[in-house]
């Protein structure tokens, strides 16, 4: 019996805290395209899963299946006027979605320069600065993307302390129930 208990403890200790079971969607913007992938927290990517994207509440943008790395890509029609939500459905009960707020599409593309009161000088300078802004945005996006991915993964990581506290909460609850039962009928 002690050996059994010991082996249970050892196998529990060898569980990688990262291993888990929940579908998440990571979505980001690359140029004009929306790309991303579906992953199980610590447990691989969702391959060949159905995805669909909607703009705002119900304007469908496209659908398809994720590739061998769980990736999807779609190019929304410009300009984007509402949040884009990508939903991934593995068709056996796992569903998750990610929303890209419309402000992230804002960038320079959606800022029509002619909407501002144009002066001659500004109009001349506009194309150059617009190009620079686009370049800067692309560069920043490239730098920031790994961080976003990292944050998403860390956000949903399982923590060893959480797991242990769960187990001990169950033990504590059992103790409380036993105490209550013992009080009720003076123990059996």
């Amino acid at each position: 019996m002690t050996r059994l208990a010991l082996s249970i403890v050892v196998s529990l200790l060898s569980i990688q805290p990262a291993l888990a079971h929940k579908l998440k969607v990571f979505a980001t913007i690359e140029g004009e395209a929306v790309t991303g992938y579906a992953f199980f927290i610590g447990g691989g990517r969702a391959q060949g899963a159905k995805w669909n994207a909607v703009e705002g509440d119900d304007t469908p943008l496209g659908e398809g299946r994720t590739d061998a790395e769980g990736r999807f890509i779609l190019v929304p029609p410009q300009p984007v006027t509402a949040d884009i939500r990508v939903t991934i459905d593995t068709e056996e009960g796992h569903i998750a979605s990610a929303t890209l707020p419309v402000t992230r599409f804002g960038g320079v593309a959606a800022e029509p320069s002619e909407a501002e009161t144009p002066t001659v000088a500004k109009k001349e300078a506009a194309p150059a600065s617009e190009e620079t802004a686009l370049l800067v945005e692309a560069a920043v996006q490239r730098q920031v993307e790994p961080l976003l991915e990292r944050i998403e993964a860390m956000d949903s990581r399982l923590r060893y302390t959480d797991m242990m506290s769960g187990l001990f909460l169950i033990a504590g609850l059992a103790g409380m129930v036993l105490w209550a039962l013992g009080r009720k009928d003076g123990g059996r």
Partner: protein
């Protein structure tokens, strides 16, 4: 898979699930015996930890449920055992959701409880080898039952999210086989070493 998140199921399904789960828990607690408490806690802890070890399978990832074993060893007490573990998984790890707690409890616990009621007496009376075989059937069928209930709850809520039978089969079949092996090993061992651990009522 068995942990349906918030915001997908419709209100009638959520309420129906919560009512059935509450009924199951109430029935279990009314005839609670203190010798069942540690057993329920151990299996609840096993389910809690077991769900954290997931294996990727194609578009999905699966993990053991231990519900067949719970049905045989706990009977109705499987309801509170699953409920407690699911609650902790939701609060600590964000699996499933608080609103779907009732539905998820029913989806996971009910098949095991029913199979435990149906096959339990035969398992307790049988020789260790036969008991292990029956337990394997119990484990595999309870996984299949959970899959069917998950599909049913999704289908009742929205036709958009209906699980596809082929994919269900690909993901649930290996799980049912694994579950059968684990349940058979546990029940076979107990029926050889400590048959009293399989009985629900003290004799």
């Amino acid at each position: 898979m068995a942990h349906i998140p918030d915001g997908i199921l419709s209100a009638p399904v959520l309420i129906g699930g919560a009512v059935i789960a509450a009924g199951g828990v109430a029935m279990a607690l009314r005839r609670l015996e203190d010798r069942m408490v540690p057993r329920a806690a151990i299996l609840s802890a096993a389910f809690f930890a077991g769900s954290l070890i997931a294996v990727p399978v194609g578009p999905s990832s699966v993990h053991l449920l231990f519900t067949g074993l719970m049905g045989v060893m706990l009977g109705l007490m499987a309801f509170p055992a699953v409920l407690v573990a699911l609650l902790l998984q939701t609060v600590l790890f964000g699996f499933g959701g608080l609103t779907t707690l009732g539905v998820n409890t029913v989806n996971i616990a009910l098949p095991g409880v029913l199979l435990g009621l149906a096959l339990g007496p035969a398992i307790r009376a049988a020789s260790p080898g036969r008991a292990a075989m029956l337990a394997a059937v119990c484990g595999a069928l309870s996984v299949a039952g959970t899959g069917a209930l998950v599909a049913l709850s999704l289908w009742l809520s929205s036709p958009v999210f209906v699980p596809v039978a082929k994919i269900m089969l690909i993901t649930y079949l290996p799980l049912a086989l694994g579950e059968a092996a684990v349940t058979a090993a546990a029940v076979g061992f107990l029926s050889r070493v400590q048959p009293a651990a399989l009985r629900l009522v003290a004799t």
